[in-house]
Amino acid sequence: MSTIAQKRGFASTIWDYLTTVDHKKIAILYLIAGGFFFLLGGIEAMLIRIQLAVPNNDFVSAGFYNELLTMHGTTMIFLAAMPLLLGFMNAIMPLQIGARDVAFPFINALGFWLFFFGGVFLNLSWFLGGAPDAGWTSYASLSLASEGHGIDFYALGLQISGFGTLMGGINFLVTIINMRAPGMTYMRMPLFTWTTFVASALILFAFPPLTASIFMLTFDRMFGANFFNVAAGGNTIIWEHFFWIFGHPEVYILILPAFGIFSEIFATFSRKRLFGYSSMVFATVLIGFLGFMVWAHHMFTVGLGPVANAIFAVATMAIAVPTGIKIFNWLLTIWGGSIKFTVPMIYAVAFIPSFVMGGVTGVMQAAAPADYQYHDSYFIVAHFHYVIVGGVVLALLAGTHFYWPKMFGTMLSEKIGKFTFFFFFVGFHLTFFVQHFLGLMGMPRRVWTFLPGQGLDTGNLVSSVGAAFMAIGVVSLLVNIVITTMKNERVGNDPWGDGRTLEWALPSPAPFYNFKQLPLVRGLDAYWLEKMEGKDTLTPAEPIGDIHMPNPSFVPVVISFGLFVAAFGAMYQVDDKPWAIPVLIIGLAITFGAMLYRSIKDDHGFHIHKEDLMEDDDDNKGVKA
């Protein structure tokens, strides 16, 4: 096991990734797949903006536009933003708490492959008769009326990838509770770990309602059930409730890890510990908690009655308080610091005003009667892109630059990074700022085109130009990645120089067992503490000994693939295809067979022996763990 850095053939690298259970490699898989889907969603967004650049445009047809907008929203939320965040969680969180791996390496891999196959399934709809076209919310009356298999792809694809996400959530929860290094108490955990924890808890409780309602949608569309069929006694509002009971926590699942990333960046590049750490933790938990009580603010116009609307309006406003606590703590973190404007820090700094603008429009929408005007207008589109792009995407871009060296051992170019930032940031505000006014001026969202003479022309054009700026930004990021990878200049454990948390004490990238000796954590910002005492290594909590590692496995791919196959069967049995039911059964048999195999065959993992670890040490002179 000593010669880890062997040269490998391409095929064996692929096989390595197909069977890996190493959280760092799974993180890379998430990054690649999530990045791919982000580009896909971005291209869909570009097509949307091209279509809406001028009135009465016929660049795309009406039906196709609806597919674009549905797939844009669905892809961005489920297949891009969330997986990318899960990728960073995988890459960083175990290192931050001083763990050798996550609690369930096998489940971790399974989670990724389920997400991946679910996402691929969903996107195959483009080639198999049309994508879903009822919006990412897929409200029941329209999603039942929608012809073709688009919505079936939506239901089955999201179901499969949702299982994966749920597993990821449970895995992180257990990891954080059980796998912390000695001395890493809850109140010493870095904020990214805390937000991972809370976001995972949200996943655990928010996904089951989605699972349940997607089952109902599947049953209604494919197996003749009547949950949402009003004629047979069904009720479409049930779907709306479930979707938002899930959907609102979902947006905090996205933003909390983003907050976590920014918290790390602010502290690092201000060279200051996070201001008000404990109130930050408290605010994170409180946001997670309140996130479950406000879902009906998406349903103010549904007709739930004034009592419900008033309650949910006030509850929603309450979330501004903990979020504000966070904002001001960040400001006070940089206040009095020694700020270094690296690319990640530029993103972090730009995030504050952008996100605040998005957040406050959220509070405006919480005022129910005013929301009767905003709802389903471009004002909403502006709000959520401000929080999502101005919050989550900026965090993803910042995190990409910040953690790239830790994941790949080489630094992205700062110069190109600033170029990317400039175009993306300017483009972002250009695109979405005017949309507030478009909405107020009476432009509904999800419109395929708009007629001239309604005062909406200029705004839409500006918005489309902005989107082009963002595209330039994204492309330059890709260029940056290619150039950096080709140059491949290796860096040491703390390339930013100001790392504070445990991950920066490890070589970049970390060895596959992470910590040769588990560290002893003596306070918040454990690595920083050691550095302040003039050391550049961590205090070990144990002597060097054998390390137990899990075996790689191909089974996760097989389990996920089985469901992928079964989904086709479930979908095409509607058309009375004779092969459909057999395919459904075969797919399920593959999945359950693989599960049975996994549970029957003992897998005790293997040990890296002490001697090999010592030897390793000699190989990596200078880089200490």
């Binding site: 047809s61 009406a62 039906g63 609806n66 076209d133 409200y139 009356s141 329209l142 009326a145 009003v230 479409t236 200051k272 510990r273 201001f275 008000g276 109130s279 116009t301 549904v302 007709g303 004034p306 008033a310 309006a313 006030v314 309450a318 308080v321 504000g324 606590i325 001001f328 006070l332 206040w335 610091g337 020694s338 700020i339 270094k340 700094v349 005003p353 603008m357 406050v360 429009t361 509070v363 405006m364 919480a366 005022a367 129910a368 009667p369 009767y372 005007q373 709802h375 207008s377 006014f437 107020l440 001026m441 009476g442 509904p444 419109v447 395929w448 007629l451 309604q454 005062g455 302040m532």
Partner: protein, 361 residues
Amino acid sequence: MKNRLSKWRLMSVFAALALVLSGCGEPFLSTLTPAGEVAYQQYDLMILSTVIMVAVIVVVTIIFVLAITRFRRKKGEEDKIPKQVEGSHTLEIVWTVIPIVLLLILAVPTVIMTFDQADVKAMDEEPNEEGVRDALVVNVRASLYWWEFEYPDYGVITSQELVVPTDQKVYFNLIASDVKHSFWIPAAGGKMDTNTDNVNKFWLEFDSEKADEANNLFYGKCAELCGPSHALMDFKVETKSQEDFQAWLNAMQSAEEVAPADTAAAQGQQIFEQSCLSCHAVTPQDGRPEQARLAPNLATFGERSRIAGILDHNEEELKNWIRDPEQYKPGNKMTGTYQELSEEELDQLASYLMSLKVEEK
């Protein structure tokens, strides 16, 4: 000093805001040119919340700008380690309490208006002996890409163009007949969904002065994704003074089927009766049940301002529409329900349809 600065900024932002907002949008469409009680209330709430939010943004921005300009790492300070501050309870309390206060200021009118705008008790009052209530009630039914407006107390039905009196509350019963839509007249007030499961109720009011500014014609929109032509599911709202409205209702109640004026129109009527009457009615008193009313009522077609909600109102566009509705509203429910028509037949149909009027204009 700092205080003055923030005040000055606040005022200028506010002024700019007011300027931008008032210059925004068309009077027949924009929520920023409110044209009735409900829209006023909502507009006030929007302005109140905007002011609060701009204040929040300004405060954050000031702290933010000061922080990033004053504390950047300068040359020669590469090794400086700033003081590691843990936190501050006083500050924590300040930035917890102030937002709470701001939110309370917003929450109170929010709750009041929520109840106020949901007050539809007047709809339940007893009708008089003619079956007419004091409150004007309109039943709105949304169907794939068209709107039907029924005045239940008067036995009158019209489509695509809602006619309402000004300076009086109008109460709506909202429902959808196929998939969910949403009923929105931005200038007159916020929307309400038309569900498939149940009837929603709310009210709006139209201000006569503002209606004048909008030439007595407001735009209405469908605000819930409902299929390919969701974007084109527009309707119009014609406002009339209360007397004119009463006159209009009377005309509608007593309207008879229009007798064709010339032979072309008569021919057109014949074709219409063969191919179109199964869905479209041509009198405002359509006795059929809802489910049988498959298409817009065309009794006032000649007086409309748009065809199918979107096309200009002239014979050319009308013929285009009938020739191939699919081209204008993809996925509409009229396409392919009648046989090919020759150009001559189209001309005849057009002149017949254009002659369908209730009030002479």
